[in-house]
């Protein structure tokens, strides 16, 4: 693997004035290419080569589908253009570039110590749309004289990090804790070369933490998190504010429920996890505005028993009842305290055969997927009594990831992809401290995997 010497291409710089300004909390300035900084671009010297390679890939992609490219200009959400590495990456992702194959590798020419793009040289035909770039770049550091083939993938520290994470998880699964520990050390080192403010670096940091906690707490399941229920509530609340996912899920579920309840005078919603009841004010108001008038609404909220003797279910129910009264919706609430969904019996819900029932499950069903596939696994139990209720509609919201496979490695892999995406999307969130707290919330979820 070719190592890049950061002292190379800024050689010979005169006293270029760095009149560009905005300082950000980025990794150490020593490694930033001074000349490019003067041009307004923050690129680390160690990353220059990767950025160059990716620019080349982007150019190829552009040549291959010019129509998509102009689409890119109007549709793509572009990141900070000063951070060239991130910017080029975001464009490449937009382009859904397939990973490079060996044909676009770089070959170090041992004679001239230069890097030559190994693209084929055909005689230029007058009508050919393809343009053959024969401009290359020069690495002025000392190179090995042997012929080395470098793929763009392997150079990428981020990708290496992912590989190492996977390997480490594998070790944890197979019980090889000493190798896992040394991998953790290596990864911590690698983290210093990667941008940890955004992208893979940030997520990797959390995963490394979670992994090391797991290793040092020994093998065994159970939640790795501390955190009181109160803390978790606060984090949940901020997560809700920062991300649109839950709001969107609630909105969509409510729409479906509203449609299913059309024409019914008595309706009953069973909520598998009431939490703060954030989903229901909107539904109550929508029912109030229904042409022909609102139905009688019953809400049964299931939730864990409150540890401190408060009846939090009842409190939420009271607040919702207040709201319903203010918009003239006849409303009845029942709370069902249960730590596990499979402990709930259908008779507790007191469903009237004449009413239209909606069952609403937000992020609850995956908890019922246990490791054992017994005859009466929790998920089967619950699903069968749901059927027994004969609901008009069931709304299910789940994470788009399989976090319940028996193998740790499988769960780990799924989690890595899933949470990377979550973190990436969080980058768009501007409000603090919501964003930071939301990240902690996700962090804890990661620890739980």
């Amino acid at each position: 693997m070719l190592r890049y010497d950061s002292t190379s291409s800024s050689a010979g710089s005169s006293s270029g004035s760095l009149s560009s300004s905005s300082s950000s909390s980025k990794p150490p300035q020593q490694d930033i290419d001074g000349l490019l900084a003067g041009a307004g671009y923050k690129v680390r010297s160690s990353e220059l080569r990767q950025v160059a390679q990716r620019l080349e890939r982007l150019e190829t992609a552009m040549g291959n589908s010019p129509a998509d490219f102009s689409q890119l200009a109007s549709d793509a959400i572009l990141y900070n253009p000063s951070d060239l590495a991130c910017w080029v990456d975001s464009l490449l992702t937009e382009f859904a570039e397939p990973p490079p194959t060996c044909s676009s590798d770089f070959i170090v020419d041992p004679v001239n110590n230069q890097t030559v793009v190994n693209s084929s040289w055909t005689a230029a035909e007058p009508h050919t749309p393809q343009v053959h770039q024969n401009i290359t770049y020069d690495e002025q550091q000392s190179l090995d004289n042997q012929l080395t083939v470098v793929t763009a993938m392997e150079e990428d520290s981020g990708i290496r990090l992912v590989h190492m994470l996977m390997t480490c998880a594998e070790c944890v699964q197979s019980g090889d804790l000493s190798l896992a520990t040394s991998l953790i050390d290596d990864m911590q080192g690698l983290l210093t070369h990667v941008n940890t403010v955004c992208g893979i670096g940030k997520v990797a940091g959390h995963f490394i933490d979670a992994l090391s906690r797991r290793i040092f707490q020994g093998m065994g399941g159970g939640s790795v998190n501390g955190g009181s229920a109160f803390e978790n509530e606060i984090l949940y609340h901020h997560f809700y504010e920062a991300c649109p996912y839950l709001k969107f899920a609630h909105f969509t579920a409510n729409q479906a429920i509203l449609e299913a309840f059309d024409g019914h005078d008595c309706v009953h919603v069973v909520d598998f996890n009431l939490m703060h009841g954030l989903q229901w004010p909107a539904l109550i108001q929508a029912l109030a505005l229904r042409p022909g008038g609102p139905p009688l609404l019953r809400l049964t909220g299931i939730g864990p028993p409150s540890p401190d003797g408060r009846d939090s279910l009842r409190e939420i129910g009271l607040r919702l009842a207040e709201l319903a009264r203010s918009v003239n919706v006849r409303f009845a609430f029942r709370g069902v305290a249960a730590s596990r969904l499979e402990d709930v019996k259908p008779w507790m819900l007191q469903v009237n055969p004449k009413e239209a029932v909606a069952v609403n499950s937000i992020m609850q069903l995956h908890r019922l997927l246990g490791c054992e596939q017994t005859r009466n696994s929790p998920i089967d139990t619950v699903l069968s009594w749901i059927r027994g209720l004969n609901p008009k509609i069931m709304t299910v919201v789940e994470q788009e990831a399989n976090h319940n496979q028996p193998g740790f490695l499988d769960r780990f892999t799924e989690a890595l992809y899933y949470y990377s995406t979550m973190f990436d999307s969080l980058e768009a969130c501007r409000i603090q401290p919501e964003k930071a707290l939301a990240e902690i919330y996700i962090q804890r979820e990661i620890g739980n995997v």
């Binding site: 190379s8 291409s9 800024s10 050689a11 010979g12 710089s13 005169s14 006293s15 270029g16 004035s17 760095l18 009149s19 560009s20 300004s21 290419d33 000349l35 490019l36 003067g38 041009a39 307004g40 671009y41 690129v43 220059l48 080569r49 950025v51 160059a52 620019l55 080349e56 982007l58 150019e59 552009m62 490219f69 102009s70 890119l72 200009a73 109007s74 572009l78 253009p81 000063s82 060239l84 080029v88 464009l91 230069q114 343009v131 053959h132 770039q133 024969n134 401009i135 290359t136 770049y137 020069d138 690495e139 002025q140």
Partner: protein, 331 residues
């Protein structure tokens, strides 16, 4: 053929970004262009011996310019209230600079040009006035030339820019790419006006013509630039319906004007050997010579476009030396 890695990254990035901005129907994504352009503010505090400030030269066209001044022994730290304090030296060259960008891109406050202008100040002990001329395709010919001309008149009429020796402003016109083209045409306008331009400095000036020259065919797409994009920019700048033999594009072409017998300033023309439009640039030099004008050609065989943006190659230093000699030979 090689360029340093950071230069390659810089120019390739421009190429990529510019491709995003040019639309096939001839319009330009100005919002995205402004978002992507790396800009820097003026700095009235000294940075490496240079301070800068922006002035509004013409309210009607919102014509701004950025002025760069060197700190001197007499005034080591400029006073914000006295940015337009008179220059004190016997002779102070004033370089009116037109940034490049093929008439469509960049601004006077683009980071790359801010850096270049600061270098020129230190190199030539000059005041540099970088003109933020109106750009195509929103503003076609002759807007850029009009703005250049306005700036020239403004500079010439600033008492504080007059050299002590003769109470006149010692003016040079300079520019790269489209800026070089503008410098030529502004110098032309100056001729009948009685404003003295002491010299023209053209870095990779942007010229063209209907014909496809040998260098265009040979180098199309090879070194960051394609004929297609060159054509796009001319179509964006020239009046609608005009072709590339319009004198703005091809000053010594079939519609050009003879400069024989005219007191045109001496010229320093820098041509990059890997620039696809070099045949047009060399034809320009020939045109000046044939008209009996003084011109020095610097042909940098191995240079690509933009080599003067980063001081990491030998062409850069050669050219800077020549510019320094060119400007000081009058002092």
């Amino acid at each position: 053929m090689v360029v340093p890695l950071n230069t390659w990254v810089l120019i390739s990035n421009f190429k990529l970004a510019y491709n995003l901005l040019r639309r096939p129907d001839g319009t330009f994504n100005r919002h995205l262009a402004e978002f992507l352009d790396r800009k820097v503010p003026a700095k009235a505090n000294l940075v490496d011996g240079v301070f800068s400030f922006d002035v509004l030269i013409d309210r009607g066209t919102s014509l701004l310019s950025r002025i760069y001044r060197p700190a001197t022994a007499e005034e080591p730290q400029p006073n914000i209230a006295e940015l337009e304090k008179p220059v004190t030296a016997e002779v102070v060259p004033v370089i009116i600079f037109f940034h490049g960008g093929s008439f469509a891109h960049s601004s006077a406050n683009s980071a790359i040009y801010d850096t270049l202008c600061r270098r020129l100040v230190r190199l030539c002990k000059a005041v540099v006035v970088s003109v933020n001329y109106r750009r195509a395709p929103e503003n076609r010919y002759p807007c850029a030339y009009d703005d250049g001309w306005t700036a020239l008149k403004w500079v010439n009429s600033r008492p504080w820019l007059q050299s002590q020796k003769d109470s006149k402003v010692h003016i040079y016109l300079a520019g790269d790419s489209s800026g070089g083209n503008i410098a030529h045409h502004v110098a032309l306008r100056a001729i009948e006006s009685g404003i003295d331009v002491l010299g023209n400095i053209l870095l990779n000036p942007m010229f063209g013509g209907q014909e496809r020259t040998e260098s265009e065919k040979r180098l199309d797409g090879k070194y960051f630039v394609t004929l297609r994009d060159r054509d796009w920019y001319w179509r964006a700048y020239l009046p609608e319906g005009e072709d590339r033999d319009h004198p703005a594009c091809n000053p010594f072409g079939p519609n050009g004007r003879s400069l024989e017998g005219i007191k045109f300033p001496k010229s320093l023309v820098v041509v990059a050997g890997l620039d696809l439009i070099q045949d047009w640039q060399l034809a320009y030099v020939e045109g000046l010579k044939k008209a009996g004008q003084e011109v020095k050609l610097l042909y940098m065989e191995q240079a690509t476009i933009g080599f003067y943006l980063l001081p990491n190659n030998c062409h850069f230093h050669t050219v800077m030396d020549e510019i320094s000699k060119f400007v000081s030979s009058d002092c």
